[in-house]
Symmetry: none
Subunit: 212 residues, 4 copies
DNA sequence: GATGAATGAGGGTTCATTCAT
DNA sequence: AATGAATGAACCCTCATTCAT
């Protein structure tokens, strides 16, 4: 009733525009994406985009916020609620990523942020604070928990957090940058499972066995 | 110092221009970099750049080639010449990277390639083939060697190679994208030492001890 | 007068722009004509021209087509419909030219084509096929008709067609190239009447009298 | 001796440069011809051209003067010396043109003048006065002589002169503009012989027979 | 709200001309 | 005389943004 396909709710417009923007940005990068392309892909005219976003940069910012933050929050909630062996928590957390890295809504963004960092430092800063640091802090916390419980060797948690994170970044870059130009598709599940396996073994205290 | 202004200059110009281009590209990305900026930073006029490179893209390509290929070749040579415990070879190889990742001539490039992949697929393809695949192939080979000699668990070498590689990518992105906007400096030596330590432990066969 | 400034304008714009382009091209030639000049003379901004024509060459091509083809078609129609003494047909056909040669929309074009032939061979080829060859073919046909009916000497029609045509070319060149720099105005009517007179006498068979 | 092929007389340079300029201008038109092209075709460096000509326009002017004037003078000399039937004089004069129209040094120039008239009015004016008006004046004089001797009908000599001239212009345009893009080669000798034949018949007084 | 014609600043590229060697 | 590296003005074209309808 209140969603006739012919006369769409105007509330849906921003999201539609962001979806269109994501596709165009993903295909051409920020600089080469034309507002007209975005409008066309959303099925509206050029002027209409400006009714919802004051500028191309604003579209980009909205896109980044919308696509990433919910996932960070979901992860944080999972970690906060968890009780049990730390290794399992890490396994569970990493298990979320194959889906995310396959989701174009998500995987597209980091590449754009990296590419635009020079021109849009505020955006890069925002992304660093709200996504990267929060994500790393989350892993650090888990690692600290594991070290305190004697499950892991006591390595510097901030450093190890980055090492947990790095293969995810590689996966994102691989899929967005190298697969489109002929790179062999990444076997995400194997890849991340191996990652977790090596990391947990590598972190295990001298005597104990940790990886199940 | 010894600046015969004209004739001697000619030979040095391409390198000077590439250095200038690297700085400008690093600061603004490919699209936003203006040829005039590059020229000005090299101390010449706009037209002069075109005496040495036929287009902006050509500058970019020359930059990528010049900055990266020699390093890949150096690594390959090192691996080919090596005899001894495989773990030591990996340690030696990884020990080269702190210098590389600190070298602006090198660290700048991957970010540009990632940012421009949409617009310059050939460049991304070139980089994939000549840098990424060669680098991964190198590590794969080392891992295979290690597995054959019974030094490592027999995990899929192509997958593990990416896991060795991933922290380097993160280091590059960190330094180029997040440090400039307030990220805490990466402690490269610690970071890579920890990486090697965890990986070698994680790869060690069940009974044996490998990490020193 | 009735100048609804926007919406009604859109349909008129191409013609306005072509008129402006013709004036600028006529004054400076193709190469030296600046898009900005054309825009300014049409009372619009630079970018507007590109809403209607994708490039400077496209403006030129549209101009040539629009200015010339209708006249060729008109002549062909006249010849096809004609019955009566062939000499009269030639007189009638040539009587159309004073108007055409005085029309700046028409007379400007051949000079541009001649001047640009080196750089725009396709344009020259188009003009040759669609204007020159068709025009000459028309005259050839008429001459053949006259020869068959015994009204003319049987000279090679293709050759004689060019001789009928040549004074028109001279008239065009004279008006566009030499009058503006001090050449005495061409008395078009006299000039062409004399041309027809001499040609018809010159073509008349030995005994017969044909020219009135 | 004084013309070792290795060390050419510097006196030859201007002529060599003009020959090169003619070829380049002929191929691309004035605007699109690059000084570097001219230099390269003459086998010298860019700067050298400026030792002999102060600018691109100056090259063009020198070219026009050098290529055309001698021919006009030759024609005038022929006419001044002539005694005999006027028709024969015209025949002899026209017989010179097949050679001229085939000579690239000559045939190239008018097209350039026509194309550049807008931008170089002085050049067009020079050409009009020194070539066109002198040529037409020459023919006018001959026609007047013929009319006075009762050999021709008393038509306005200035008008008829243009009609004598027009086929030559067409021949020039044909060869330079349309032959290169697929026009059938002009049969110059036939073409001009027919021209002379028709004109002389057309000019002949009522009763008399003039054409041999 | 929606449109899309219009704007005009901006940047890549070319090339006539200069001048130190 | 000759070179050719260097200059910088000029111009085509793009596209983010505006605004009258």
């Amino acid at each position: 009733m209140r969603d006739t396909p012919i006369r769409r709710r105007k509330d849906a417009r921003p999201a539609e525009l962001l979806a269109a923007a994501r596709e165009v940005f993903a295909a051409k990068g920020f600089a080469a994406a034309r507002m007209e392309d975005i409008a066309a892909r959303a099925g509206v005219s050029k002027g209409t985009v400006y009714l919802y976003f004051p500028s191309k940069q604003a579209v980009f910012e909205a896109l980044v916020r919308q696509a990433i933050l919910p996932n960070v929050e979901r992860l944080e909630a999972m970690a906060a609620a968890y009780e049990g062996p730390t290794a399992d928590l890490l396994r569970q957390a990493m298990a979320l990523f194959p889906t995310l890295v396959r989701d174009p809504k998500v995987v597209t963004i980091p590449r754009l942020v990296i590419g635009e960092a020079g021109n849009q430092p505020e955006m890069a800063d925002f992304y660093r604070r709200e996504v990267v640091e929060r994500g790393l802090g989350l892993i650090s916390g888990i690692l600290r928990r594991g070290a305190e419980r004697g499950e892991f060797r006591p390595l510097a948690p901030d450093t190890v957090a980055k090492l947990w994170f790095a293969p995810l970044l590689l996966a994102v870059v691989w899929r967005t940058t190298f697969e489109p130009v002929g790179g062999a598709p990444l076997e995400l599940d194997d890849y991340l499972r191996t990652h977790v396996d090596i990391m947990l073994r590598g972190l295990a205290p001298e005597g104990g066995t940790d990886a199940a």
